[in-house]
């Protein structure tokens, strides 16, 4: 490959920054954007509060060219982005918004509403507000909550931050960035987005292919490489567990994985589409998936995380899995030679283990369209409503006949076993019976026989069982 393909290019402070990882001893391909910024003399506004995407103090904005040849600005946790992932994008930090003398409208509103106390979360809050400012004019309370759920503040109790958001986001997103947009777009377009970026130094390899075929070829060659699709999980291995990852294939830039294909009987969702986009796009087709995603992580995490990533990591508490199973979703796997479709139920085989072969990648998730007789619901119980992993989650699917007799019922639970698990005894008790409160109440104790969950930091086993049991009743109530 050509030598310049080890160069990662992005815009910071209005200029293109080129980093050649093959000739560099300061940064490695798994240096996070947070670490990078804090190593610079003029970007120390970005703060490390947790280095695991759970506090938002490190929030930055990233601008990219969208399909309408405009820039879209989104908030991200800089602690969960590796430096090469900035390739072809504009990185915006709190320093770029304004100075203490000349403040951006969101900064000014934060000051005049007394929305900072210790100030350590503030630059992150400001950046989430900036993304909100650029995207939604006069946001409502729900939109403000959604934009800021990923930013923890221990001092203020949030009320003044909400007031600042309400007050600041009233100018149609117009600000100093609006003026420079054309220039930034042309700079971004000058950056290579065609030939695979291959960082190969003595100890580490990091590839960014731009086509699926290139990615599959790389996967064939480097079969032990970690696949990074978004990377909210992979980043934790570096920032929290301090693992050294030798080989990464970053498939986040592949357009073919960001497609939505509407078939006659199903919708195929590309594995690389961000969870935030899925949440917005499928509000009508798959409302229960969308509603689950509204309490999935935070906006910063959903902007980054993908469906392929969430499924591929096969976590027992992966939030999307029970509902996708209830939707009877399948995973489409590809290799250079083959493409195959496996029901999601069969795809995850054990704790963090899947059916995927070493030369394969998840291409998409195929969800059958729902007929009007099928009822689907998703539930998630967590200690905190937002930005928390589920204690118990559930995806339920129900088919009734005209006399309310249960033709089929599938009860998928997350958090109750090493993988997402069905309440099979409860299901068989219910099938053939009438969907009425009495039946459901008779079925509820059977849940206890279906599961033997763990006690852990999130809940006791007893608590989990009660939650699982109660969700069945809640499902019944929600169908009436």
């Amino acid at each position: 490959m050509a030598s310049n393909n080890s160069i990662v290019s992005f815009i910071l402070d209005g200029k293109i920054v080129n980093i050649d990882f093959n000739n560099n001893n300061k940064y490695t391909p798994i240096t996070t954007v947070l670490e990078y910024l804090r190593s610079l003399p003029k970007h120390k506004g970005v703060k490390e509060g947790c280095a695991e995407g759970d506090c938002g103090a490190c929030t930055v904005a990233i601008a990219q060219i969208n399909n309408y040849n405009q820039l879209t600005y989104k908030a991200f946790n800089s602690c969960m982005i590796f430096l090469p992932q900035l390739h072809g994008k504009q990185l915006i930090t709190v320093e770029n918004l304004g100075t203490s003398n000349v403040l951006h409208p969101v900064q000014k509103a934060m000051v005049t509403n007394d929305a900072s106390q210790c100030g350590f979360c503030t630059s992150g809050v400001v950046m989430s507000l900036f993304a909100l400012y650029k995207n939604i004019n006069n946001p409502n309370k729900k939109e403000i909550d959604d934009a800021l759920a990923g930013n923890l503040c221990r001092c203020t109790g949030y009320r003044p931050i909400i007031d600042a958001a309400t007050q600041a986001c009233a100018y149609d997103g117009i600000d100093k960035f609006t003026k420079n947009e054309a220039e930034i777009i042309s700079l971004l377009k000058s950056i290579n987005k065609f030939s695979t970026i291959a960082i190969e130094n003595d100890t580490q390899k990091y590839y960014i292919p731009f086509t699926l075929y290139e990615a599959l070829k790389l996967k064939e060659k480097h079969e032990d490489a970690i696949i990074l699709n978004g990377g909210t999980d992979v980043a934790l291995r570096v920032t929290k567990k301090h693992e050294f990852i030798a080989e990464i294939i970053d498939i986040s830039e592949i357009n073919e994985l960001k497609q939505i294909k509407v078939n006659d009987n199903s919708i195929e969702i590309g594995a690389g589409i961000s969870l935030e986009e899925i949440k917005i796009t499928f509000e009508n087709n798959f409302p229960q998936l969308s509603s689950l995603l509204s309490v999935f992580g935070s906006k910063q995490i959903r902007n980054k995380g993908t469906l392929g990533g969430n499924i591929g990591s096969a976590s027992p508490i992966g939030d999307t899995i029970p509902i996708l199973m209830a939707y009877d979703a399948s995973v489409i796997l590809v290799s250079t030679k083959n493409e195959r479709k496996i029901p999601l139920r069969d795809f995850i085989t054990a704790y963090h283990k899947t059916e995927m072969e070493k030369n394969e990648l998840i291409k998409s998730v195929d969800i059958p369209k729902i007929d009007k007789d099928t009822i689907i619901k998703s539930y998630k119980i967590s200690k905190r409503k937002t930005l928390d992993i589920s204690t118990v989650s559930a995806g339920f699917r129900l088919n009734l006949d005209e006399n309310l007799i249960i033709k089929d019922i599938k009860l998928f639970y997350g958090g109750m076993a090493a993988t997402t698990k069905r309440a099979e005894k409860t299901e068989s008790f219910l099938i053939g019976k009438k969907w009425e409160r009495k039946t459901v109440e008779q079925a509820m104790p059977i849940i206890f026989e279906d599961f033997n969950p763990l006690s852990d930091a999130r809940s006791s086993d007893e608590g989990r069982k009660i939650m699982a049991r109660n969700l069945l009743l809640k499902f019944y109530l929600d169908t009436n």
Partner: protein, 767 residues
């Protein structure tokens, strides 16, 4: 006065505010990593540092054998090893400290260190400590009246138990310190500490140098909440030890997980109580036994116990009381200060007891609360003998009951609960009375140094530290008001031990009270000096109607004679005259809180300068199937005296309340049997987020409530609002109770997580 924003606001929002991790230190900066114990209790049979020391980029690894002075430290009682010797006593205890060129190298070195442990059985819980008789300190008991006699005379006696969990401070900025060596023994330490003087003392002791050699500087902390009152010290000690050894600057910043594992939390308590009362619900006696998990060492446990004792009766007059507290020693990280400092734990028990009386008598708990409030002229002596003066419980109650429409909403809630099977609402009103002053009387002193420059600008130094609470903002306002000049000409300097010696921690909500007075004292001295010169100037060439010093006024950037107002000179111009007259424009100030004393043996005295009062009404909606709680509305009326800065005070109230709600609801710390903290990262430890605040949040300050004998008649506001969150806890309990038609008291402890709420509902339904 026009609205004054936080003095650092514009720096916070632009990223320009400098925290310790942002300091530009030279390129010789080394990074420190602590190698800590992974066993709660074990002997260290052997260890091997040789491989780790060989790694390129590792400059030093110290064990206890390499320390230059004593291997013992601690804020009050010195019982903490700086580095563990042959036995470890909690998970997170430092064993070695590494100085390396980068954190990655330090991690690599840590992986190569071999430690051979011989595990011993740990004590993790209060119950285990009781079983093994592992007391940290003898039980402290406070008594008043005659409890035994009262037991015979009470119409009703009931008993109960209530527990509260630990709470992690979760300041956004983790513990951090940078030590920079100078000439000779000099050591400059930048520390995120609430107590620079103590950090200075303990660094000096650990390094075997003198206090004059150590300067500790704190510009600002990214949050502290008590967590950096004593537990910032060890971080500074480690950085300074390695800095002394390597003769290079050393930075130690804990990762979030390290911080959660290694540092202490709010003390968990288990308390048993017995309470006697009449048919009206008026309390005759109260007997309470509090037991707390102190962790592995003393730290601040004893003053925390003292505050639990002196707040055990909250706002209620109790004629006969026996209040005891026992700290138990266990193998977890030593628990420490956290906003409220034992007060919340003490107050939780009496609030629970009152709730229990209400269930017993089938009355609304608010009625029992009101009936037992301290009286204005009688029934106003606390169990420790202090008279509750300037009691504002009734004026707050009257206003809040009306403005919150408590009674009307209570009826509506009952109706809602009758009509809804699975969603239940609850409401509660709870009061706070909080004593202001350090329980340890001698700590109630503060110093200041005010420098006026000839251009008319003023640099104020004082011993308090800024952790976000707005102390420096208020000090700036105080200085501006006292000097009669524009606030833009006043700056508050970073806190440093080189300017103000022998300070107390910025804690016990006392920062503004004490440092504000000390600053005023310095300014009073300066004004006197300036006024003398200006009087002389005014009186030059005059024989009659001479200006007198007592008539000189400082206002609006001018100095004038209030009798002869045409005699007027600008502040800046006056300074140049004062300077040329060879009069010092620098003065120190000092303050000690008057009329406070306490006899610890008798547990009697007047420990508090005054009391802060507040009340809160909260209404919640509970999903009884999932345990989710939605806070519908909270009304708070709080007494901040004559507020110096209303927006800052409201910010403290809202923030303190939400932090309290976190403790009462979603913040949970669990340890496994081996002493591992399970909730050791933000992935499993959940502080309130933006959706965890009341939908309708109404916070007001009590109006027309000047506080006699404090700086500008204000009141301390840092800690008291934390306990306003009890209204949420008891509202949740109220909602659960509605399932059983309020006939059965739910068994609910703190934290009321959705899990514990569901378990309480289960239990209630079985009864």
């Amino acid at each position: 006065m026009k609205k004054v924003y936080h003095e650092s606001g514009v720096f916070h929002v632009s990223g320009e505010a400098v925290y310790i991790d942002d300091l530009s230190i030279n390129n010789q900066l080394l990074i420190c990593k602590i190698v800590h114990s992974t066993y709660a209790h074990a002997t260290i049979k052997s260890f091997d540092l040789s491989k780790a020391k060989k790694i390129e980029g590792v400059h030093e690894i110290l064990s206890y054998k390499d320390l230059p002075a004593k291997n013992i430290t601690g804020p009050i009682v010195q019982d903490e090893l700086i580095l563990a010797e042959d036995e470890v006593s909690f998970i997170g205890q430092g064993i070695f400290i590494i100085a390396a060129e980068s954190i990655e190298i330090a991690y690599e070195a840590e992986r190569l260190i071999k430690i051979e442990y011989e595990p011993l059985e740990p004590i993790v819980t209060i119950e285990q400590a009781m079983e093994k008789g592992s007391k940290l300190n003898p039980t402290q008991t406070m008594e008043c009246g005659d409890v035994e006699k009262a037991k015979k005379e009470s119409q009703h006696i009931i008993e109960g138990e209530i527990k509260n969990g630990a709470q992690e401070q979760w300041y956004l900025e983790t513990q951090i310190s940078v030590a920079v060596p100078g000439e000779g023994d000099d050591m400059k330490v930048y520390s995120s500490t609430q107590h620079p003087s103590e950090t200075q003392t303990l660094v000096a002791e650990a390094l075997g140098i003198k206090k004059m050699d150590v300067e500790v500087e704190t510009r600002r902390m990214g949050g502290a909440f008590g967590g950096k009152e004593s537990q910032a010290n060890i971080i500074a000690i480690y950085a300074a030890l390695l800095s002394k050894k390597t003769k290079q600057p050393v930075k130690l910043r804990l990762s979030r997980e390290e911080d959660q594992i290694m540092t202490g939390k709010r003390h968990p308590f288990i308390s048993k109580f017995k309470i006697g009362f009449n048919n009206e619900g008026i309390i005759n006696f109260y007997e309470v036994d509090m037991h707390t998990n102190a962790g592995a060492s003393y730290d601040l446990t004893m003053p925390i116990v003292a505050r639990a004792l002196t707040h055990a009766e909250n706002s209620y007059y109790i004629p006969n009381a026996k209040i005891s507290a026992t700290p138990w020693k266990t193998n977890i990280a030593s628990n420490t200060a956290f906003r409220g400092f034992g007060g919340p734990q003490g107050m939780l028990v009496i609030e629970s007891a009152i709730d229990k009386i209400a269930y017993y008598l089938k009355k609304d708990a608010s009625e029992i609360r009101y009936k037992n409030f301290y009286g204005i002229d009688d029934r106003n002596i606390t169990p420790y003998g202090e008279i509750v003066e300037n009691n504002r419980l009734y004026s707050i109650w009257d206003k809040l009951i009306k403005s919150s429409e408590y009674k009307k909403r209570k009826v509506e809630i009952d109706k809602f609960n009758k009509e809804n099977e699975f969603f239940k609402k609850g409401i509660a009103i709870t009061p706070v009375k909080f004593g202001i002053s350090f329980n340890t009387s001698f700590l109630n002193q503060a110093g200041a140094l005010v420098n006026i420059y000839t251009d008319g600008t003023v640099l104020v130094n004082h011993g308090g530290t800024e952790m976000g609470q707005g102390l420096h903002t208020k000090i700036r306002q105080i200085a501006a008001l006292e000097l009669g000049i524009d606030i833009v000409n006043i700056k508050v300097n970073a806190t440093t031990t080189a300017k103000i010696p022998n300070t107390s921690a910025t804690a016990a909500s006392s920062g503004t009270d004490m440092n504000g007075m000390a600053v005023k004292n310095a300014i009073d001295k300066l004004k006197k000096r300036i006024a003398q010169v200006i009087v002389d100037e005014f009186n030059k060439d005059k024989e009659q109607t001479l200006s007198k010093i007592e008539n000189i006024i400082f206002n609006n950037d001018y100095i004038f004679d209030k009798i002869n107002t045409e005699r007027k000179i600008s502040f800046a111009k006056a300074l140049s005259i004062v300077y040329k007259s060879r009069i010092s424009l620098s003065a120190t100030g000092y303050y000690k809180t008057p009329n406070i004393y306490y006899n610890k043996d008798k547990q009697k005295g007047r420990p508090f300068h005054y009391y802060a009062f507040g009340m809160s009404v909260s209404e919640i909606l509970l999903d009884t199937l999932t345990g989710y709680v939605k806070m519908l509305r909270t009304d708070i009326l709080h007494d901040a005296g004559k507020s110096i800065n209303t927006n800052i005070d409201i910010g403290q109230i809202e923030g303190g309340f939400v932090q309290g709600v976190g403790w009462c609801t979603i913040e949970e710390c669990k340890w496994d049997a081996k002493g591992n903290l399970l909730n050791n990262s933000p992935g499993t430890y959940k502080i309130p987020g933006i959706t965890d605040i009341p939908d309708d949040f109404r916070v007001n300050l009590l109006e027309d409530a000047p506080n006699p004998n404090t700086i500008r008649q204000s009141k301390a506001v840092g800690e008291p609002p934390f306990m306003l969150a009890f209204s949420v806890f008891f509202a949740i309990k109220d909602a659960i109770a509605s399932i059983g038609n309020h006939q059965i008291e739910p068994n609910l402890n703190i934290p009321a997580t959705n899990e514990h709420i569901l378990l309480a509902i289960e239990e209630l339904k079985k009864k």
